[in-house]
Amino acid sequence: MSYILLAEDDRSLQFLVQRKLETEGYTVRSLADGSEALALALQERPSLLLLDIGLPSLTGFEVCREVKKHYGANSPPILIISTNGQDADVEAASDVGADDYLIKPFSLRDLAERVRAFLG
């Protein structure tokens, strides 16, 4: 079954993003840990990944790099969630092959629009 993988360690944010995407009609699986997210992504290909940068055990960048390496040209799109003012993050996001990025605090409406751009 096609699903969006959300990795975000802030529980309230995780809950809210999941809710929004679900109301948009997507199936969402949420995790708070980097290596768990990577394991799931490799085991069962998500249709899209939403990765926060500051995750426990593996950062969003590392998960992104590994997923891109694993799936190659067939890789699902990846959105990195960065934090206000971390300019270097945006550079790094494109370095590890991320397809788009969002900066906290972001708008759920904007998030939904970007996801729609990839998944229709």
Binding site: D10, S12, L13, L16, V17, R19, K20, T23, T83, N84, G85, Q86, D87, V90, E91, K104, P105, F106, S107, L108, R109
Partner: protein
Amino acid sequence: MDDRTLFENVPVPMLTLDANGAIRQANAAALAFYGRSAEELLGMSLAALAHDESQYLQERAWRSVLQSKRSWQGLLDHIDHEGALRTVRLHLAPVCDADGQLRSVLCLIVDVHQLAVAQRLLQHERDRFEAIIESANDAVLMIDSEGTVVTVNLQFERLFNLLRQVVLGHPLLELARQLRAQPDLPPDFINVLLNFSSDYTQSASYEFEISGEARRVIRWYTEPVHTYSGALLGRLFVFRDATHELALDRTKTEFVSLVTHELSTPLSAIKNAVELLQDDPETALSADGCQYVQIIQQRVETLETLVKDILALTRIEAGRIELRRAYYPLKAALDEALNSVRALIESRRQQLRLDVPESLPLLWMDRNRIAQVFTNLLTNASKYTPDDGSILVRAMRIDHAQDLPENSPADVRLPAVLITVQDTGIGIAPEEQARIFQRFYRAEEARKRRIQGSGLGLTIVESFVKLHGGKIWLKSAPMQGSTFFFTLPIVEGQ
């Protein structure tokens, strides 16, 4: 005129003394100077005319004249007719007969009191100047108009490990040679320093690093020095150890980064929860509920802007803003800005008109930063314009200086795209216009009307425009609206 008449009429006090130092003759000027009659003065000893503190020196001078039979002159203090101390230049000239026997001593008393006072004052001023320079926390170096080192202070000796004896009176070139022998000083710095040995017009400031164990950052500036009347005195160099303040600056930037970073996640959660409350049909609110949520939403947006602005400003101040530039149409940045300010403008029923031709060239810019420039200018335009007012955004290509508006600054880089954001708002008083770009500055009228704002928006706008090589200025009058102008240079073939 015989000798006697001459002696009598010379306007300088003169005495003749016998070998015992007793006064034999005194001219009119001497009587007047000492305020005594001829009877009183004749027979008196020279010693009786001198101030106590000059007795010793005068006695020695007298003895040396008697012994060597050669004349002497020196500065002494005598007591004048008012009993006041006067500094005099005393000349003692022995007069000998044919077989070398001392017959008398001619004594000339030249009143140099005012000169001496002036010299003492001058010396005092010089001492004071030196004490000030010496106690300064900054290292000071001064060269004269020929490039010779004339002043250095203690801090200079410490900073550059040089004693003043080896640099004072030498050309700057020699100082440079001494500095080159120090491996911790960057050669670039010494080259820049040397460039100024022949340049007496430029002012400039620089920074360099002393490497090695005690790594230090030195900020320095140099200025030509002129007297009040405009004569060139030389060039001043001032060096300041900025290591601590830079470390402090860095800590401040890091701290602000950390705080804003930590604020971003909770702010995002609040904002998103509000969005869900508004968008999710399952959580439909009562009319009151909608109003409460709207208040939360507005205030979260204010917080969000504030956090963003503080962060931007900290980075600007730390010189850590890096532009991520690419070629974009101006419209891309404007549209991004409109996404966030359109709601505000609509809520106030203001009319927004855009005159941005499609034919404008692509601009070499950081889209997000220029979007921020538009956001801040448009937010201001809306905030300071009454409901039902109007806002006009225009953009045009400018190739020649004569096509710029008349109040443009002189040094606009061309060709450029000129953007104007015009409103029909409360305007800005002329005396405040120069200050509105200062951080935290808020116009009097804005505060009076309790229009919210942090005073950071225009500071950020100005620095982003400058970073792009553009200029920003305004035209405004109270109650007659404001027009902000800014330019973005057209850079081709990057």
